[in-house]
Symmetry: D2
Subunit: 360 residues, 4 copies
């Protein structure tokens, strides 16, 4: 039995923070030790500080916990792991301070994802990138601390099937993806109802370049001594991101061309997706889903309302795998944006880090 | 002044039929002469036969008009033009009977779109295909009748900017398009609310092959003696169609590769789209919009709720024109599915036919 | 330990039937023994016969179970309890046939609710009405069978707080209630999306008289020898029912006048609601919620999305308890329409019947 | 012909301000002369200063108009009428400054509605309250200026049928009303989508007391010398206000008891509602609808999506008139919250003021 880890949550009052609290409170491997948010919230009991928007009630264990400021002091220093759901505006400085305090930090914010010493890991995809942490600790003179980031919510769903296909069939040459993203991805208050009722907003600031670039880092490798990332060089990704009137669950329509000729058949692709297993599953991580990728053979799936809870929100559901007139194959995928795409990724990364001996 | 045409509407009680009635009742060039629907509806006054779902009230002129069966009898024979918004299940036989009765027929149904003697015309795009009607009349021994079909609602929006670009820059080699389609496109009762609230349905039966094939016929030409269609041979189209919780207005995300090298720049593309003019405009058709294509330079447009009424529903709004990492350019377009994509197309086709002297 | 009961479900493919299947499959006290639906569905494996619309997947145990016709034959005769989620069109005859076959039947349909030999029971309210079953069995010459109905979904939520108040403060003289009901209450396909997106439908056929009448039977008593129902005579109920774009959960705004003068204060009302306990709780029924009525003191609750799962869907959430300018008090309540208001009621009724020794 | 009035709009960039701009730009009797908003917007061209959310495009005439600060200077002093759609936070001081500058002011804000010198007028109801302006001018020593307020959006719809009934049948003793209000009533950004998708919010801050109190002032009279308001004393109003996922149009379910015995019948009530005419109609005001109250006899109307544009948004649609089990009658009404309930009221008030000779 692994020991129960004391967990801190930064940005605990936000949409991602609320999801962290739900996931951690039901998790046998963590106890919620301290919660941090902005000075506006600090000093208040959690249920007064947050506008709770989850459909399950606030866990009793945190209702009255007093929210702290986001500084590496007191209870935060006692945490085995710290999860960050901070706004990008403030995540930069706060996370750096926590790292310097030698804490083990799992961040949802975009600030350090492109940093050359910081792994960007989707737990069902590139857990091998944890290997770079030795180099990171060295460089920042850390003993037990480290900083790992998870990917943008829309990238997180995309790279799971891409990784399965790349492993099986070699490099992907071209990827065109169009997303239909849930409003919870914009936090709270986030998207105004006047913008999204009876409407689609065909733009999400900064999202497309993030998807295009993050994919190349995540699907790429490390150099030989695990001191640098080798981004994919021959894969081209083009993303179009839309907001739709859906609460949770990002849907993505993907067309792919393989380098390999002849390209794999639809049946081969389905087989590979269904059989894909990640290290998180091999190591028996608590939150790893039975199936990383669930392939639906029904015409009209995946659907956010019906499939976002698959694998408790940790699976990617893929459907409509079929030939593409222009590339080789196309399919539609669905991922839960605040579980697989945010807080759940953080939790699974912490489980992986513990299994890999990175947490004392 | 052209004379006012007597118009009949087949399938007058459906979603497309209701739109026909709104458009025709406000139109100086038509008078609604007779309405047809199923035997279930025939014999009832229109306002009892239909479940009216438009946000404008039923025009007074048709409220009490008695619905007829869809046979080429009595008042239908007196019509100068007949518009069909029939279900595909029944459109085949009924439309053929009307054609044989030498009536001028504009159909929304899919049944004859692929027929080698029947033009498939998007009025802002390929009005030149009316030229094939001489051959059609010849073959079917018609004096004044003919049958023209308009395209599927999602095709109708797509081909307008594609035509502008093809005219200006030569053949398009590859097109990948992902749609987010309104529920009115499925008629009434159509999409159940349990399927679409807080949801996306990533599939619309038959829609993708329609978009892929219709585009090749519409953007293609006629042979030299105007007796056959020359479909595009070098353009590849791949479509993915989704249903979203939007009432009216189909949004489409498009990536394009040109044959020509170097490809046109984003600015050149925008110029060409903005300056595009169709024959319907040149001939001064009543319903032709001032601008066939409205280009928005704002980040987050077009949006169905804000842009579907542009050009009274006859314009295509294009936004987010930008480079594509994989192809040359990408953009997002919006078209009103029951105006430009259905009934409005029919009306504009009739205006064109009249201008071209095809209606006595 | 009570023994596990074999359960049959009539109308198993519908919205209520699907909810029965979810509830029963997770329930330690029942095993799903047989499923019945229309001749259209009979003979097919369950997952082919139904259009599954729950956000949890179809339980593995029923996926491949072959659907039967709704006749009291074979496996149905082996059932300890039969739950009916049949359409009112067919429920009358089928349920009577099952009753004549001496089966224990719990019905969601409206057909027998007004019958003078059939209890209409909301399990958290009037389980005392089970006492009439001796008379029913007598009259219909049944040994082990009986028929109990549960209330309409909107009535089911309303009567729980009304019962608590009536028990504590005596008769209610006037009740005005306005509902905002979820689309799942209309089954599948049910409410067309064209009717409900960006809209409210201020009418639900037959619903208002049902709420008004059922309340009087449920809150009334039995005569001395438990052979007839004594409906409330001095309470007046006026209901207005609306459909809103919500998936699950009926919200109801209630104004109440008490007979008693002075009327109880808001604080007394809240106390009584919070402390209300029903027989289902006293007897330790598995599905009975910890709190029958959860009172929220926040301004803006209850909300369907946030509160419908309270008590696993078996609690009624009441909020905004405050004085009424016209009557005495007013409040807003929320109940899960397919759990507390339909299938869950059936399940809890069966638990009660077993505890009361009505099931052999 | 009356002369064209120069109009200023305060709070021109907000939801109500945008509606003012649409209504005024299409109005033959007004020319938009100047636009005011917060210091954040001042100095910018209108189309940069506002986040335009109407489904019709920004009128060309105001696109590039430079937004001013809200001070009674320059162009504002040249205005014949000034409309205010200001936030209540700032409306108090700004409107007082404009009044002191002797301007004719029509305000949507709540600040002065309860003031004993300020008329609160719903133009289809109590235009007789303009008579108090002589007293107001006297007291504030104004020559041509004055301040009139219009009612809250939910009150505005309610009082129209109430007035018709009170005029015809004498005092109403009891009114219970439950609203289902559109999100546009909360301005922009207003209601977060996470709060309203698949949801109802059973609370709108401050709305219920406003409806309850404003009704008494609007339906009341003036004292003999028109220097004070006589509020209704014997009518009791109880309001419950909900927010629903609807863009525009407030739906209200109303139960009414008359003082008079016997109470009027449903048919008498319908007659009175249908025949109701207000002074705005008698005087031939441009924006006054043909019918102040449209009575629908269909079961399932009024519906916001289908009826909010009735009378160009200036009519109230009433449906479901029927007996009430508890009071005398009940019905459901619908009013466009930003036209009849806000900007349209302002415009119609200005038309009335001009007809009454209050504007030089
Ligand atoms: N939503 C998603 O699906 C998703 C997916 C992947 C990644 N992300 C990323 O996750 C992060 C959080 O997103 P969200 O959707 O949860 O946003 P959110 O709902 O806006 O929450 C933001 C959180 O940051 C805190 N915060 C703001 N200013 C602060 C300060 N000065 N000091 C300390 N804490 C401060 C807020 O606390 P207060 O309540 O006290 O203001 C709140 O807890 C963002 O970086 C986002 O890009 C989101
Ligand atoms: N909605 C769109 O955006 C769109 C766009 C482009 C093309 N289309 C095409 O337009 C057609 C109509 O679509 P819709 O959305 O309007 O469908 P809809 O709402 O289902 O209307 C169908 C119409 O067909 C009539 N009809 C059915 N059976 C008939 C029979 N046996 N004899 C005569 N009339 C019969 C119906 O009359 P009753 O009321 O009497 O049953 C009704 O008027 C379809 O072919 C569709 O594919 C639709």
């Amino acid at each position: 039995m692994t020991r129960v880890l004391k967990a801190g949550v930064l940005g605990a009052t936000g949409t991602v923070g609320q999801r962290f609290i739900l996931l951690l409170s039901e998790h046998p491997g963590f106890s919620i030790h301290t919660l941090g948010a902005s000075p506006r919230s600090a000093g208040k009991p959690y249920n007064k500080a947050t506008k709770w928007k989850m459909s399950q009630p606030i866990p009793a264990s945190v209702r009255d916990m007093v929210v702290q400021t986001c500084e590496p002091l007191k209870e935060f220093l006692e945490c085995d792991v710290v999860f960050s759901g901070l706004d990008a505006d403030v995540a930069g400085d706060i996370e750096m301070a926590f790292l310097k305090a030698d804490l083990a930090l799992f961040s949802n914010a975009k600030n350090y994802r492109t940093n050359e010493d910081v792994p960007l890991i989707v737990p069902l995809v590139n857990s091998s990138h944890f290997d770079l942490l030795a180099h990171q600790r060295n460089k920042h003179q850390l003993k037990k601390g480290f900083l790992v980031t998870n990917a943008n919510c829309s990238t997180s769903g995309l790279v799971v099937p891409l990784k399965a296909l790349q492993d099986a069939f070699g490099p992907l040459s071209k990827i065109i993806v169009t997303t239909m993203q849930a409003v919870s991805g914009a936090g709270y208050p986030g998207v105004p109802s006047l913008d999204i009722l009876d409407n689609v907003v065909p733009y999400i600031g900064g999202e497309e370049p993030k998807m295009e670039w993050e994919t190349l880092k995540i699907l790429g490798g490390l150099n030989q001594d695990a001191t640098a990332f080798d981004l994919l060089k021959t894969t081209k990704v083009s993303a179009t991101c839309n907001r739709v009137p859906v609460l949770d669950g990002h849907t993505e329509c993907v067309s792919i061309e393989f380098e390999r000729r002849p390209a794999p058949s639809v049946e081969e692709v389905i087989q590979v997706l269904e059989n894909y297993r990640s290290e998180a599953q091999e190591l028996g991580c608590h939150s790893a889903p039975d199936q990383a990728i669930i392939v639906s053979r029904e015409d009209d799936r995946p659907q956010p309302r019906l499939d976002r809870e698959n694998g408790k929100g940790y699976s990617v559901t893929v459907g409509r795998v079929r030939p593409c007139n222009v590339f080789d194959i196309k399919f539609t995928l669905l991922a839960h944006n605040t579980i697989l795409g945010a807080a759940g990724s953080g939790v699974l990364l912490a489980e992986l880090a513990q299994k890999k001996g990175l947490i004392a």
